[in-house]
């Protein structure tokens, strides 16, 4: 073998390790999953939206609108009696519908009098994730089709309306039902817009804090081993639990400092859209109270402790700084999964198995908490805090146990064998 071939062979042997391949495989799987998610957006866009309508006008012009609704939507409620509004809303709620449209009795009269006619829309919003808002976006698209067709109808019939009315014969008055709240004057896309600011920023901030503070703990353990300081530390008169707690607390403080810096920036960002787009989020009740903020802070704190305890456990497995970098990948993965899931879907709208999976990842909870708190879902938030606290305690206990075994120095755990002699005695 030539010298070059010999060197290549040696380099390949050193580089072809699980450390090199595992991160890439994980990233490839993540991209694959994201591809699947995008695929389902396409499917959802092609689905006929479940809708209902009340046509109180029963005119030629209102028929133009209802024909479009029947043509493009799956109509599960159809009436001409405006007093049946509540029945229609309940029917749609039962049948997983999206919106009830009410065409007023003076619909055509107003248009023909050069006044845009207002269609009332009662939206039944299921979730505020990117995937959740697709069906309502499809219905919103129907409105522009209705407007275009009405314009065509008015112009082709030489109706005596002015250009402005001919181009925009209708307007919309939205009311959105979401998680027990009735939000007047806003559509699901408006609500999604407000909530997505939180569902994007908080998960990203949490993910960054978990990864940064977590890698600090793992690296700290790896450096103790690599710099050969761990053995000395373990023979000093200090309790194992103090070593574990000391490392976790120091990293948590660093993590919290980072969180405070991010949160200051985030609060300025939040203030900037409090009245954006003429939507008063205070009036709609889409803001966090002081109690909510305290619960959110607690959720962030316990999650940070849980993340660091988990990282401490991973850190005990690190042999050196290189292996520590590989060990941060499970942490990164468990921080990225809930971040993407909470962005794309609401906790309420995901399948049960995925719900259990998301709940099981401790890092999900502060990411889901803001939206849950806005809509008074305290069970999810408090349940999450309790679950994450238990998870943290278990992780700390395991880490302390590992510190008391040979595992930390030798990489193996002492297994106690049952002595048959003792059993006989």
């Amino acid at each position: 073998m030539s010298s070059l071939g010999n060197i290549i062979k040696k380099e390949l042997r050193e580089l072809m390790t699980p450390t090199t391949f595992i991160p890439i495989i994980i990233i490839a799987i993540m991209f694959g999953s994201m591809g699947n998610a995008i695929g389902s957006i396409e499917e959802e866009m092609e689905e006929r939206p479940i809708i209902g309508f009340i046509d109180a006008d029963q005119s030629n012009l209102s028929f133009v609108a209802t024909r479009i609704l029947e043509g493009f939507g799956d109509v599960v409620f159809n009436s001409s009696d405006i007093s049946e509004k509540e029945i229609g809303i309940e029917e749609l709620k039962d049948k997983d519908g999206i919106a009830l449209l009410i065409i007023p009795s003076d619909f055509s009269e107003k248009i023909l009098n050069n006044e845009p006619s207002e269609i009332e829309v009662y939206w039944i919003m299921k979730g505020a994730g990117i995937l959740d808002s697709i069906s309502s976006a499809v219905v919103e698209e129907l409105f522009s089709t209705i407007n275009t067709n009405l314009s065509y109808e008015l112009i082709s019939n030489n109706a005596t309306v002015n250009a402005s009315t001919a181009l925009n014969p209708t307007s919309r008055n939205d009311t959105t039902y979401f998680k027990g709240k009735v939000l007047n004057g806003v559509s699901p896309s408006d609500v999604s817009g407000i909530l997505s600011s939180q569902s994007t920023i908080i998960p990203i901030v949490m993910m960054m804090i978990i990864i940064m503070a977590g890698s600090t703990v793992i690296s700290s353990m790896a450096l103790e081993k690599e710099n050969k300081t761990l053995e000395t530390l373990l023979t000093l008169p200090v309790k194992r639990v103090s070593i574990v707690a000391g490392k976790i607390i120091a990293s948590a403080l660093i993590g919290l400092m980072l969180a405070v810096i991010y949160m200051i920036g985030f609060s300025y960002y939040m203030n900037s859209f409090q009245f954006s787009g003429q939507i008063n989020v205070n009036q709609l009740g889409l803001v966090l109270s002081l109690g909510d903020l305290l619960l959110l802070g607690l959720s962030v704190f316990v999650t940070l402790i849980a993340a660091l305890s988990f990282c401490m456990l991973l850190g005990t497995m690190a042999k050196n700084f290189k292996s520590a970098q590989t060990l941060t990948f499970p942490v990164t993965l468990f921080a990225l999964i809930p971040m993407f899931l909470t962005m794309f879907k609401d906790f309420d709208t995901i399948p049960l198995a995925l719900k259990a999976f998301l709940f099981g990842i401790p890092f999900s909870h502060p990411m889901m908490a803001p939206r849950a708190l806005i809509f008074d879902d305290y069970l999810l938030v408090i349940g999450g805090i309790i679950y994450v606290s238990i998870f943290a305690l278990i992780m700390i206990s395991i880490a302390v146990w590992v510190f008391k075994t040979d595992r930390l120095l030798t990489g193996s755990i002492k297994r106690k064998k049952i002595s048959f002699r003792k059993l006989k005695k």
Binding site: K228, T229, T235, L236, P237
Partner: protein, 237 residues
């Protein structure tokens, strides 16, 4: 008075039997040397006595404490210097000694640190970061760290490893002085001259078993050898 009592000590790493039932005692103020070829079980024995590793079977008593049950108490009276130990690179030499001293008697921190600085004998470099030290300087700092707390038992694994002749001699002198102040020393070394110079008693360990034990003179007499190195080659074939 016996400071260390090791009885039928066995240590397994999975299926590997590293120590196969060794027994020895070390008297107060003695320097006891464990010598043997690589992989004989010396470091494993020292790590067990230092409370780093658990015992598979057998027993160890340090002063009045049972190692299996009172490791926390033992850590207060021992000091362990691993063969390839390091110090925190972002700390200065003095900062490192202060960090260690804080784990011992709080009211004697400065006294302990002063002693560590004196033993390390790094002069002004004690205020420089450990990161800038040579291997020999770092070893002297670690020897200072190990002996500054006046431990009842100092466990030193290759104490002069990485030191030049002058520094090694100085460290040997320090170890010898330490025993005069009541510290018992258990050490391992591959340097037979060092062992002969320092140790009051020696145990020759090979393949996890003690095959000879005694004073350097008695062993040399028994094997009609001029020095311990010759004893070693005769015993460990």
């Amino acid at each position: 008075m016996e400071v260390i009592k090791v009885k039928s000590l066995v240590k397994h790493y999975g299926t590997i039997e590293a120590v196969k039932g060794i027994s020895f005692n070390v008297n107060k103020g003695d320097i006891f040397g464990l010598i043997g070829p690589n992989g004989a079980g010396k470091t494993t024995t020292l790590r067990i006595i230092s409370t780093l590793l658990t015992i598979t079977s057998g027993s160890i008593q340090i002063m009045e404490y049972d190692l299996s049950k009172q490791a926390g108490e033992i850590r207060k009276i021992i000091s362990y210097l691993p063969e390839d130990a390091g110090a925190y690179k972002n700390l200065t030499g003095k900062g490192y000694l202060e960090f260690i001293a804080h784990f011992f008697e709080q009211n004697k921190t400065q006294q302990i640190v002063s002693k560590g600085v004196e033993i390390a004998n790094l002069k002004d470099r004690i205020n420089d970061k450990v990161d800038t030290y040579s291997k020999g300087m770092q070893r002297r700092l670690l020897v200072g760290r190990a002996l500054m707390t006046d431990p009842k038992l100092a466990i030193l694994d290759e104490p002069t490893s990485g030191l030049d002749v002058n520094n090694a001699q100085e460290v040997r002198r320090i170890i010898k002085n330490t025993t005069r102040q009541g510290t018992t020393v258990l050490l391992s070394s591959h340097n037979m001259l060092e062992v002969e110079f320092l140790c009051d008693r020696i145990a020759l360990i090979s393949d996890g078993i003690i095959i000879e034990e005694g004073t350097p003179d008695s062993l040399m007499q028994k094997y009609e050898a001029k020095n311990i190195e010759e004893v070693f080659t005769k015993v460990v074939k």
